[in-house]
């Protein structure tokens, strides 16, 4: 501890030196093991594929009727538990419903849960984080302690508890997942705000005499937002997973058309006779989340130059 003040000062100076002397030298800052020629999966091709997958699923959510060959409620007693075939590419379930069509129609709720809960979570978390970071002092302490308490219960469990308390339904599921994700967003936003507030240009703006509100709106918020947005993208994936998990446990949207989690849960009973009922909805979830994560990773690398070329 003795030299920490001096150390802080020195590190500032070091940064200056680095900026002055080394920023033009591409050596040093990045590491890459020499001699490795093997490179699998170009990042851009993968991101492109992920983009196509996500676009397709969004299309499924918007206009399922264009894509699905059958109605999701259409029960064909003549075609119960049929294996994948030309007529039913992903097979049929116990009621003779076409699994592919069910998956296509189920996209909407899964996506809706994901997007809404991320929006609500980011909005609440971002606001709380901004408040805590900007106000500091007591408000900061109180808010962050509150977030710590929320974090003592693992996210899934918190969502589960809230969903159980609220009862099933789309709105309640969204709320449950959103609340459980709030502490994460709040922490990141607070950290960002604190970091950006220490930036030279914020100090410069203050020295010019700009009002605190204008500094917040014109400098701090725009520069703080990027990591939160990246986190929200990756959060979209985990929210969809959480939503699927909740409806798998029976806390989902109880409707005529099952979402992916519910579909899987229903299919569990026929595992030994019809593997396709469980397999394909799960594959849909995985592909969707995987694509979102690929895009999120790529975006994070673009936003954070420190991580460029590392994931």
């Amino acid at each position: 501890m003795k030299h920490s003040a001096a150390a802080a000062k020195t590190s500032g100076r070091l940064r200056r030196i680095r900026q002055a002397g080394l920023d033009k030298a591409p050596c040093g800052a990045q590491h890459r093991t020499s001699g490795t020629k093997l490179r699998f999966g170009s990042a851009d091709v993968l991101t492109g594929l992920a983009g196509i997958a996500v676009s397709f699923l969004v299309l499924c959510a918007l206009v399922p009727g264009w894509i699905a060959p059958y109605s999701p409620t259409e029960m064909n007693t003549a075609a119960i538990l049929q294996a994948p075939s030309v007529l039913h590419p992903l097979g049929t379930d116990y009621f003779g419903r076409d699994v592919f069509s069910l998956i296509v129609y189920g996209t909407r709720d899964s996506l809706l849960i994901g997007i809404c809960s991320v929006l609500v979570g980011v909005l609440i978390g971002g606001t709380l984080g901004t408040l805590a970071g900007y106000a500091g002092g007591k408000l900061d302490t109180v808010l962050m302690r509150l977030m710590d308490v929320l974090l003592t219960v693992p996210g899934i469990l918190l969502a589960l508890t809230i969903a159980a308390a609220l009862g099933p339904g789309l709105r309640n599921i969204v709320l449950a997942i959103a609340i459980s994700s709030v502490p994460g967003y709040a922490r990141v936003m607070r950290g960002q705000i604190l970091a950006i507030r220490r930036r030279g240009y914020v100090f410069a703006s203050r020295a010019i005499g700009a009002r605190p509100s204008s500094i917040l709106i014109r400098h701090v918020l725009p520069n703080s937002a990027a990591p939160l947005l990246v986190m929200a993208t990756l959060g979209l994936g985990s929210s969809i997973l959480a939503g699927a998990g909740l409806s798998f446990l029976g806390l989902g949207v109880l409707k005529e058309i099952p979402d992916w989690g519910a579909l899987l849960s229903q299919g569990r009973g026929y595992l030994t006779v019809a593997w396709w009922i469980c397999t394909f909805p799960g594959l849909a979830i995985t592909l969707f989340v995987l694509s979102i994560n690929l895009i999120g990773d790529r975006w994070r690398d673009a936003v954070d130059p420190k991580r460029k070329g590392k994931v």
């Binding site: 699998f40 003592t152 308390a165 397999t279 989340v289 590392k310």
Partner: protein, 311 residues
């Protein structure tokens, strides 16, 4: 050092109290009448509903309820299950070992796979192991546990008939649940360890180590890994917590006995006292894990040790 541990214990206690209050708030303050979510008002007479309110103490003022709640918890009285009217605490305690065993096994898999893949993938960036690490990382965070669990059952129980699909007796039943659950944690840990290793590999001191003529193995496994573990340990702690929570789903998928299963059943039966009890148990384990994480910090990073000693 002792003082540091004491203060950590004190704050852990606060966190447990906080999470208890949280659970209380979730059930008693969120919109929605818990009684109405427990019974169907159309089929039950108003007197029954009123009786239930009385029984749950819902008619009393908030602070009084909160105090009673804490008082009951302190004396170990978690109430009785609404379904079988057996006391909650013994019901949960009875199942704790099974769940802890599953969590420990999954954590072991997650940590071993995560570190064993993450470290070489950063060192040989772009190579085969790196490719494997990226696959595990991406799929780990993108696959729903219930789906990977079902896939395992399909392959190893239905097709190959190597492992029992359900039950909780014997080690064979532990394999698949632990794999399904551990895979998720492994995904996150691999990503974290890899990123963190790459970050440390770019630090100036690594150049010093090489300039001293140290063997590359020593540079990477003695120095870089130890520095990279510092941020990774936090994440590992959080992952263990998430795996504990994940038992809710996994125990359901594999029809295993355990605390998670109790919770899943309680949620379906809207058995609120049991839900509370399980969340309380989870919070305690979670706090315990965090305590361990803090202690392992001190073991890895001498700077924290010194600060803890009050220097």
């Amino acid at each position: 050092m002792l003082q540091a541990i004491a203060s950590r214990l004190a704050s852990s206690l606060l966190v447990i109290v906080g999470s208890l209050a949280l659970v209380f708030c979730i059930f008693y303050l969120l919109p929605g009448d818990p009684v109405l979510s427990m019974v169907d008002p159309t089929s039950v007479s108003p007197e029954v509903i009123e009786n239930l309110r009385e029984q749950l103490g819902l008619n009393r003022p908030f602070h009084e309820r909160l105090l009673t709640y804490f008082g009951d918890m302190l004396t170990g009285d978690f109430g009785r299950s609404l379904v079988g009217s057996e006391p909650v605490l013994p019901k949960i305690l009875h199942q704790v070992p099974a769940t802890l065993l599953l969590t420990a096994a999954s954590s072991l898999i997650a940590i071993v796979v995560g570190v064993a893949l993450g470290v070489p993938s950063a060192v040989r960036k772009g190579g085969l192991i790196d490719f494997a690490a990226r696959i595990v990382g991406l799929f780990g965070i993108s696959m729903p546990t219930f789906w990977s669990g079902i896939l395992l059952i399909l392959i190893f129980s239905v097709q190959l008939k190597w492992l029992p699909a359900m039950g909780s007796d014997g080690w064979a039943t532990l394999v698949m649940p632990a794999l399904a659950l551990g895979f998720v944690g492994a995904g996150s840990i691999v990503r974290m360890v890899r990123g963190s290793m790459l970050e440390v590999l770019g630090e100036p001191f690594v150049t010093t180590l090489r300039a001293k003529g140290l063997r590359e193995r020593l540079v990477q496994y003695k120095h870089v890994l130890r520095n990279a573990l510092i941020p990774a340990v936090t994440l590992i702690g959080m992952q263990i917590g998430d795996m504990l929570a994940g038992t809710v789903i996994i125990e359901t998928v594999f029809s295993r006995q355990g605390v998670g299963r109790i919770l899943a059943d309680a949620i379906m039966a809207k058995d609120l006292p049991v839900v509370q009890g399980v969340v309380f148990f989870t919070a305690i384990v979670y706090v315990g894990i965090n305590l361990l994480v803090d202690l392992s910090y001190a073991a890895i990073d001498p700077r924290i040790r010194r600060r803890g000693a009050g220097q």
